[in-house]
């Protein structure tokens, strides 16, 4: 089976690697704070906590996203991705729907929870960075089947956009076309097969994806 759907030429998909950021909303840190000094973490994180959304996860706006039969619910991680330009600065911003199999531990890299085929909704369009005065003004709403489930206020980031970009850049170069997500907030809603997920934000076109049951695994 090939990845779920072929991109529509009119919808944005990244050219480079997509990185996600855990614990970049203050409410997310506060919720986990009581556990941070206990095993297995033993200390709060010092550097940005990142993960990769591999290319097999990418779903353009409008695509149906397949959910395996053994995954009853998926966690919806709405975010805005910063798209890196040729000069290493931010070229634009794009809505993202970072889906995960719910997982309580952040000790080991989340590959089997986050790198499932289709598990990153992207788009529909890149918003030019020159149109954006301050990413801290972004407000994102998550609706499932039309009902508001989560609101994200990007003035409550632990590391605001430029600081995050700079701190990540201290240890790895973000290449032209790479994407760095600003974070997904606390209280991420859950969704299941049949649900329609909309991620909307003033100034952005709305990103919509629908969850469908994965066709059962015929051998490749």
């Amino acid at each position: 089976m090939s990845p779920p759907s072929s991109p529509s030429p009119s919808h944005f998909l990244p050219a480079g690697t997509v990185y996600g950021t855990l614990l970049n909303f203050r409410a997310e840190v506060e919720a986990l704070a009581p556990q941070m000094s206990a095993p297995p973490y033993k200390a709060p994180p010092k550097a940005p906590v990142l993960y990769v959304k591999t290319a097999n996860t990418w779903s353009p706006h409008g695509a149906a996203i397949p959910v395996p039969a053994n995954v009853p619910e998926v966690e919806v991680g709405a975010s805005i991705g910063m798209v890196v330009g040729a000069d290493g600065d931010i070229e634009g911003f794009v809505p993202m729907n970072d889906l995960s199999v719910p997982h309580a531990s952040f000790f080991r890299p989340p590959v089997k929870f986050k790198c499932l085929d289709g598990f990153l909704g992207i788009g529909p369009a890149l918003r030019d960075a020159q149109e954006v005065d301050d990413p801290a003004a972004f407000r994102v709403e998550v609706r499932i089947n039309g009902e508001l489930q989560q609101t994200l206020d990007f003035s409550t980031l632990v590391r605001p956009a430029r600081q995050l970009l700079a701190e990540v850049g201290e240890f790895m170069t973000l290449a032209h076309g790479d994407v760095l997500m600003l974070g997904c907030g606390a209280g991420r809603p859950l969704a299941r097969v049949g649900d329609r997920i909309e991620i909307s934000a003033p100034g952005f076109e709305t990103l919509t994806n629908t969850l469908v049951a994965e066709e059962t695994g015929a051998a490749a």
């Binding site: 097999n56 790198c115 085929d117």
Partner: protein, 251 residues
Amino acid sequence: MKHARIRYENAVHEAVEHDGALRLADGRVVGFDAVDWLPPLAPTPRPRTILALGLNYADHAKELEFKAPEEPLVFVKGQSALIGHRQKTFRPAGVQFMHYECELAIVIGKTARHVKRDDAYDFIGGYTVANDYAIRDYLENWYRPNLRVKNRDTCTPIGPWLVDAKDVADPMALALRTTVNGQVTQQGNTRDMIFDAPFLIEYFSRFMTLSPGDLILTGTPDGVVDCQPGDEVVTEIEGIGALVNTIAAAA
């Protein structure tokens, strides 16, 4: 056949090994010293997925005081971490422990989804050598090993050759070794992997599609030591190649 990608006279070329030299696609034959070596991987239409295993040799898990994992410990790298043979890797100022990791790298040959173990070798295009450097000072227990340890610029040399899978009779019985300035510091054999190549193809393809050019770095055995600027580190796998790298001080 052994394939390389090199830069020669300001252009990138595909090349193959030919009597101790490189034969370019246009027929010219040039010496190993005349070129800059790039990762031996053809460009992919989308960013390649680079999966890397931790603790995949029982002796190395023990060395790091971990019990062997019950399922693969895997992390992901971005393409920017890769560099070629005979290039420099930068050691940050002020760190205490930076070590190499000699690893057999699997290069996916065709799209793999829901592959069964018995069919797994059909999906492998070839093999190369990776040196998956780690800077342990930066380890944190959040999505560990975290990207600051494992996804640094220049810290994943790979090459020199992509060796066609059909030329590797048994990839699960290859001697590995690392030398630092000519002294052997690490020795092992791919037969001692906890999760072998067919297992890994089956495991990953159960939840994610692997595409041609994707990589699986299969972990490293016992014997990692600190490396300092100026050290020449050679990670070598029997029949696959000897990957040369030099540590430099970060500017």
